[in-house]
Symmetry: C4
Subunit: 204 residues, 4 copies
């Protein structure tokens, strides 16, 4: 629901901040890695936020980068890992080391992260290795804003394929349709155009 | 609860956008049909939003038109159809084709929509055919704003009748009361006036 | 949680409005009595709002007066009456007639309200008669704002007594303490002063 | 979620206020101690808020000081004490007297607080005595803002140790690491620096 909060930093502790947005102070849980990046109290800040709904509460978890937020989302997708343990893991090891350790079955490196027992570390590797390996080759979630609007072609095609799969098409059918559109002059076309053409191919 | 969000488009993917409203970034799920209509990241946008409450989360689903939002509400009223499948259906076929297929029992057309199996497509036709057929003659939900403030008389009467039925009056009693008010000079009167007179008739 | 919404009226139907507050459109359910009072679409409005939490959603219900909101809160306190029926009742009879009918056991008048069956009407009278009779002598909830800051003495004393009872004091002990404070020169003192003195008396 | 609300006070009763923040009126439950501190209706106010999630509602509870909010959080951590009883207790006795009574096993003083029975008062002392005793030597939650940015060294070390414990390190290991960092020239260093050094020590 809430994915970003911009405002004045009015309280800063190592695990939680309060950001004042036009008079409403939002309490946001943060990892140590984000704490290190934050300016002094009184400065303007903007955090990428994940709204975590629990049975009896709504928790806002904030990050300095979209990348760390996506890594947090991957961590809580592992059964048995809740927001607090996920934040602790992100506090105990930096993002690229974590991605590298998971992608390369480096159990020993993960065991140095406080609070991550052997069984949980093994489950993290088992459940995330494939997802994270795709991650290392490119940003998993393309953050399309002013700074990052140049989307290279292969990222575009992957987004188009995953969009079609999300819509319910079989992955092979989605891949074939995108390949056909690209081969018939779809190079350098926008994601909209590629998708519309692919949907027409799939509707035949 | 939240029915509309206006702000700056700061993230755009084929299935989700983030809209910044005065520093709060709202994550909104969208169908492909809305994705095609959206401007570039950084532009001002306004979406018609449906707040979907799930057991463990609150999901905001956004549309470029009120009409598509109302069609989404009809789709999720069908047992077994959740927000994701409803959004996929609206992504796989445009609104008027969908309304036409449902109103005319066109099962084959619906079966081309990815993710919509035979049994679900039949249930959509069964549960929505009457509601959608009324839809084709006029906008189901009258969107009373500057562009659409001229409400023709028959729409006014239908709104008055449905208001009385919502209040608990039997539909025949509601129709008779409205007919009597109209026949006694109620032509071209505002909805307020028609309702007040009809309530007096019903209170006799 | 949300008790009031001020903004631009962007959608108005007989049972629901959308109010735009700085770009967020809030969907608010309204009774017919409030619909009659609303200006045209595009105007600035301010509604007294009750946030109703249901198992699977959050419903905002809006009223033109604080009085009608408090009456709504009384209605939903009756077992078996939810927000929709309460709004229908407030739509079918005006506030003072409703208060009068409940306070004077006027079952026949209540039975004319659509959707209110005999058993429910009897329960409304049974459960609300005492609460509403107190209501007729003065505003139940003192709305302390610029227009209404002159609070007469008896209302002040009643507020002080109910505050002490809310704090856990026995009602007789609360009454005796307030009487003593008033008799010892507490006339025309502010609610703060009366309460502080009464708490001292009770702490002896 | 919401930790602070700033806006115009538009309704004030002894147990509840409504604060208008840019047109949205938030209903906030308050203890008597906060009621006494509030200015007249129409003034600008800012309250420290605790968002309490119940099965069927979200309750905002507001305080004039961060200290009272933290004391409220301690009270509701006692099994059997909900927000209403916690607010009643804070209304019946001022903060320092409450902390003193708990820290010094003063059961008689607690029994004078209306609504707090013998069994509950004993449980309050049993469950909070250790937490509150630490409280009396320094502010439990360091409120780092413009007025309070001078954090003395011992508070800094305690925060660093509790941060490491929160991250999953054993408390003895956390203490040893912090002592080593301080002894190796960590005096007068910022919390960031102390933490980073301590994490390196722990990672060896």
């Amino acid at each position: 629901m809430i994915a970003q909060i911009r405002g004045k930093l009015i309280l800063k502790t190592v695990s939680m901040v309060i950001i004042d947005n036009h008079g409403i102070g939002y309490e946001v849980m943060i990892p140590l890695s984000t704490y290190y990046e934050l300016p002094d109290v009184g400065s303007e800040v903007s955090l990428f936020v994940y709204t975590f709904f629990k049975q009896d509460s709504i928790l806002l978890v904030g990050f300095c980068t979209e990348n760390e937020k996506q890594l947090f989302k991957l961590m809580i997708s592992v059964s048995g890992i809740g927001p607090r343990l996920a934040v602790n893991v992100l506090s105990g090891i930096n993002s690229s080391e974590l991605i590298h350790a998971i992608a390369n079955n480096d159990l020993n490196r993960l065991l140095k992260v406080p609070g991550l027992g052997r069984k949980m570390a093994q489950r993290v590797i088992l459940e995330l290795r494939d997802k994270v390996s795709g991650w290392t080759s490119k940003e998993q979630i393309t953050f399309i804003n002013n700074k990052k609007d140049a989307i290279d072609q292969s990222v575009m095609e992957e987004d188009a394929i995953s969009a079609l799969i999300n819509l319910g098409y079989k992955s092979q059918a989605a891949k074939d349709a995108i390949d056909r559109v690209i081969s018939e002059g779809g190079e350098n076309k926008s994601l909209d155009v590629i998708l519309k053409k692919a949907l027409k191919v799939l509707a035949m």
